[in-house]
């Protein structure tokens, strides 16, 4: 579905952020991209939708080669890739609804978007998504009035209203507390499953990644050094990705999660799904 071929990114400073990445993500697969800061994770996902222009190599989404598209075609291709950001990247002075509808900008003309006259189908979908992420009572709140977890839900709705085929997710939980982080990760993975979406999730928290994803790719200095299942991350693999460290705590934590399933919140709470998700402030 998504294929990267010998992708290289060299910044004008001479730093090689990506050194020939070959990666294939099949449809519907949720993949975590881990690696130390500066390994090139952010650069990698931004090279896919060309927010960062790759220096060489190819990116193929389905049959379309993204790396050779002109401006107009690139805009249309970007509609197929939803992006979720580390600091939520909501437009803070716009309302929740405007932020969600901004995911439709690739589909509507300038004047319609300027007058906020979006097609009814888009508005219906926006309401549906806000309901799904538990924010349907906050439609006209300004984005900067929301808590971190709520903002990220808006970010997720904005990405999904694009009706994408793949989600590019950049550190979705980096600014969230541990509980909200889990809920956000679970929400993203549930939505991917519901909609058959593929996803690349950049994430620092290895244990959290292992809880939710089907595949882990480890990046180090712009090269892929690990590609395999989440439980294949041994101390040796983590050392190769991050460098020498005592990994026993990280690995044991994973085993804990497995003996005590992460579904604890679901079992303790009899509330319906939406309210459970909306309960975080």
């Amino acid at each position: 579905m998504l294929r990267l071929e010998k992708l290289v990114k060299r910044y004008p400073t001479g730093d090689e952020a990506l050194r020939g990445i070959d990666l294939e993500v099949p449809a519907g697969q949720v993949m975590a991209l881990i690696g130390p800061s500066g390994a090139g994770k952010s650069t990698l996902i931004r090279c896919i939708n060309r927010l960062v222009e790759p220096s060489s190599g190819r990116v193929l989404l389905g049959q379309e080669e993204l790396t050779s598209l002109g401006a107009g075609a690139l805009r249309r291709a970007r509609r197929r890739m939803g992006m979720i950001f580390q600091e939520y990247a909501l437009v803070e002075r716009l309302s929740v609804m405007e932020n969600v509808l901004s995911g439709q900008l690739g589909y509507v003309g300038f004047w319609k978007s300027w007058l906020r006259r979006f097609p009814q189908s888009a508005i219906d979908e926006a309401f549906r998504l806000l309901e799904r992420v538990g924010l349907d009572t906050m439609v006209d709140k300004r984005a900067d009035e929301l808590s971190g977890g709520q903002r990220q839900r808006v970010g997720i709705a904005r990405a999904l209203i694009q009706d994408p085929e793949i989600l590019l997710v950049d550190e979705p939980t980096a600014s969230l507390d541990p509980k909200t982080s889990r809920q956000i990760m679970r929400l993203i993975c549930e939505l991917c499953e519901e909609r058959g979406l593929a996803a690349i999730i950049n994430i620092h928290d290895v244990a959290l990644a292992q809880m939710f994803v089907q595949r882990v790719v480890g990046l180090q200095l712009g090269k892929i050094v690990y590609d395999g299942p989440p439980d294949g991350l041994s101390a040796e693999a983590l050392t190769e990705i991050y460098g020498e460290e005592d990994w026993s705590a990280t690995i044991r934590k994973v085993e804990d999660e497995e003996t005590e399933p992460p579904a604890d919140e679901d079992t303790t709470s009899p509330l319906p799904d939406r309210e459970r998700l909306a309960g975080i402030t």
Binding site: F85, A89, E92, E98, S102, S113, W114, G155
Partner: protein
């Protein structure tokens, strides 16, 4: 290092800006000598100052009995002209400032556009309003058209520059997120940039209205119409009571404009 080992008191003094004590004293002394010569070189005609005191006093006295009535027709004509000039030049200035401000923001515009727009801003900021007004009066003759053009040009220098700087300071993450949705350039500006700079743009525009009103009084003195022209005439005729009335009106309007723009700005966030 020996200090660190000695058991005595360790003194500390803020290191001086200029290390060499000799240079420090030389600069200080030099500045004092220059200043005393400079002050000595200003010729003061004390007799003229003494005569002027009378005239100044007459002017101060005039404030106790300003005459709004005698020249009311001239005053109201000048006022309306000034207010018209203020509003039209501010609106025209804002309309021109927005595209120029966008072009002068390095994070939006390609280099040639950036340099051109920065050039326009630099020109408009180089010349003081009076100089531009003299130029436009020479070009278009006396009257409010010259004033309108002067103030519009000055507004561009002020507003476009500050708008461009505000755009350069935006949170790039918000703009990037809008770009990632596949938005067109104008949509990107409308959704990703505009909400971030709008409160400041409105605040600056309101501020500019009262600057433009004050400036409209000044450019009138060089013949660009408005209340300044009326004020100038009043001075020329030694009608201090009328001049006082005009100045009181200007003060009142400026205060009102400042107060109301302050109120509006406080409500924007």
């Amino acid at each position: 290092m020996s200090v660190a080992h000695s058991p005595g008191i360790r003194r500390w003094k803020r290191p001086p800006l200029i290390k060499s004590a000799r240079l420090r004293w030389a600069i200080g002394l030099g500045a004092a000598i220059y200043l005393s010569f400079a002050i000595g070189s200003i010729e003061v005609n004390w007799l003229r100052v003494y005569e002027g005191l009378d005239r100044g006093w007459a002017f101060v006295i005039a404030f106790t009995e300003p005459d709004f009535v005698k020249r009311w027709r001239d005053i109201s004509h000048g006022l309306i002209e000034s207010l018209t000039m203020t509003v039209t030049s501010t609106v025209l200035g804002i309309l021109l400032s927005i595209p120029i401000g966008l072009g002068a923001a390095r994070n939006l515009a390609p280099l040639p556009v950036y340099l051109f727009c920065r050039g326009v801003i630099a020109i408009s900021r180089t010349f003081q309003e009076i100089i531009i007004a003299i130029f436009f009066v020479a070009m278009f003759g006396f009257g409010p058209l010259a004033g309108l053009l002067t103030l519009s040009l000055a507004t561009i220098g002020f507003l476009a520059k500050l708008l461009a700087e505000d755009i350069e300071d935006i949170d790039p993450g918000q703009a990037e997120a809008v770009r990632a949705t596949g938005a067109r350039w104008l949509q990107w500006i409308n959704y990703g940039i505009q909400p971030q700079v709008m409160p400041r743009l409105i605040g600056l525009s309101l501020y500019r209205i009262d600057i433009n009103f004050r400036e409209s009084a000044v450019v009138g003195i060089v013949g660009a119409g408005g209340i300044g022209a009326t004020l100038n005439t009043a001075f020329d005729r030694y009608e201090f009571d009328t001049a006082a009335a005009i100045i009181i009106i200007i003060i009142a309007i400026v205060m009102f404009a400042e107060y109301s723009s302050g109120l509006i700005r406080a409500r924007l966030k």
